[in-house]
Symmetry: C2
DNA sequence: GTGAAAGCGCTAACAA
DNA sequence: TTGTTAGCGCTTTCAC
């Protein structure tokens, strides 16, 4: 808007400017700049030099609009303040980068309503991303499905039942089973299972349900506590059950486990002396120092599989909707720790 | 590419399609869709209905290209597997959202070379973002500076000396001083300061330097250990110093603190019985259970200030480069904990 | 209140 | 090897 825009070079430099400076046409400049098509090596050299000198930065929007395709994959991420999501994010990035995929991310607060989720989805679709990786439970299959046949969609972390939406996810039920078996093997027969309610955290719900049935099958008595989103929710109930005779508290996430341990400490109960406690996630740095008995979820495997699947879908899109819907569950590793001990 | 594209509606639906379906011109459809300009209410209703029915999603690239401006702010982020960055990311998002700013993020692995950083920068600039928030130390002022007068740039987390690049950052030296004062007040006079080298982590370097000078001024003897990026680097040296008589190990980050505590435990040394240990960051969930003596960095304040500054720059761009370069340091809070005790 | 026309910056045939 | 010519999908004066 000001007067002397031309003075300082940069973002408003166009191919035309570069072409003019190099004494060639726009088309030639375009080809030379991206190194595709035919052009004389010396011409390219000159063009590149001018671009450099002018501080030319290609306008991606214009380029992709004209080319009719996009080179980037959109990533919808859930609030990264949770280390488990932060790590997943990080690994997805790494993997994408390693495979030469460009990722552009939009996130949604952990507590956002549906409207915000859809908004974020549209932001990405509006950019006409080549594919979509969804790493948030907040968005439903119904919201995703209409686009599933227009752009490949891979859900990372959470299982998905909708047709056409591929997944690489944590095997939450299996995780619940593994932990429950461990607790059973330690001899516990009166156990509290503390988790977020189904609509609060589906993953926790899956884990907790599996824990419960495994425990029951193993002959244990289970007190199921379904709590809100806050880690401290339901902790009091769990403690009450402990005072009533329960010897172990199984938490559906490490956060709840930490909350329980705090409360236990405050209440003067020893872990694992008075009560055993388990969690699930195993991502917290320092968990080893606390000796947390938990389960390390396979973040790396899920990230790798998600990106790999996306890449495959991207390259095989020629032959229409060929393959089946890919659904890959990954199991984690039990981390025994010292917060759970024999009865 | 297939036969019946028209069959399933969605991403290839254009305004023209919507306009045609509603029996109006493209211009009218555009106005009605974004609710700006003049149009009859009933016309709009019809247009909106058709858009909905056809599953129209505006092509952002085309829209912004035509409009000549962008509504999104670019965020360059460092690897989010570090909870401190994950949290910063999360808070930046929240704040941006609260202020109605759209953020699009690209990340760079923690260990990436300069080329990758520049690549990421260009990805964002290529999108012609309206502003840039940089939350990674990996990119240098020199790389940013050429663009500082074309698009507002705010650095979040790390201090910046370059003209024209605004910052909202952690007051690392002050943090170092606070922790050192605390250690001094506990009576320690032989202290190890363990940090990443200057080129490994500038923040750690700043903290450690401040710790060292504060300690020295306080009459303490300091053993400075400059380590590599891995948390375990330099730990052995630190332990040697402890065996030589040092009574406290001050770590420039919580990660190093955890590594030191692990090593200490392995070596059979008690904390804080045999030696006191401090960290810095205070972000780890569960840090309280470990009783870490650390310093909670003001992530929220930095995020809020960064976004607020960006918004101000965005709205006041009319009056050219009016204001001074904004530089806002924020101090954190000492978390006493139980890993540091009187000598 | 609505439409026609001229691009935004770039790419991709097709000529030359 | 290089230039010419159409657009990509949308926005935006400026007439009607």
């Amino acid at each position: 808007m000001s007067g002397s825009d031309a003075g300082s070079p940069g973002l408003r430099v166009t191919v035309s400017d570069v072409a003019a400076a190099a004494g060639v046409s726009r088309a030639t400049a375009t080809r030379a700049l991206k190194g595709e098509g035919r052009f004389a090596p010396e011409t390219q050299e000159r063009i590149l030099a001018e671009a450099e000198r002018l501080g030319y930065v290609r306008n991606t929007m214009a380029a992709e609009l004209a080319a009719g395709r996009t080179g980037t994959v959109g990533l919808m991420l859930r609030d990264a303040s949770n280390p488990a999501y932060g790590l997943l994010f990080s690994r997805l990035q790494d993997e994408a980068h390693r495979r030469g995929l460009d990722l552009v991310t939009v996130t949604i607060g952990a507590d956002e309503q549906g409207a915000e989720q859809v908004n974020a989805l549209h932001r990405l679709l509006g950019m006409r991303v080549a594919g979509l990786i969804v790493a948030t439970g907040g968005i439903t299959a119904a919201q995703l499905e209409p686009f599933a046949d227009q752009v490949p969609i891979v859900r990372a972390g959470r299982v998905e039942t909708a047709e056409g939406i591929h997944t690489a996810h944590y095997d939450d039920p299996e995780h619940g089973r593994m932990l429950a078996s461990h607790v059973l093997s330690l001899g516990h027969r009166r156990v509290v299972v503390l988790s977020g309610a189904e609509d609060v955290s589906f993953a926790e719900h899956l884990r907790a349900s599996a824990m419960e049935s495994t425990l029951v099958e193993g002959g244990a008595t289970v007190t199921r506590v379904s709590a809100g989103a806050a880690p401290t929710d339901g902790v009091d109930e769990a403690l009450d059950a402990v005072r009533d005779g329960a010897t172990a508290v199984m938490c559906a996430s490490d956060y709840r486990q930490l909350a329980v341990m705090r409360a236990l400490r405050t209440a003067g109960l020893a872990v694992p002396g008075d009560v055993s406690v388990t969690g699930c996630d195993g991502i917290l740095p320092g968990a080893d120092l606390l000796g947390l008995t938990t389960l390390r979820i396979p973040v790396e495997a899920v990230a790798a599989a998600a990106v790999e699947t996306m890449q495959r879908l991207l390259s095989s899109d020629a032959d229409s909707d060929s393959s089946e819907t890919v659904r890959q569950p990954f199991g984690g590793t039990l981390v025994p720790g010292s917060t759970a001990a024999p009865v």
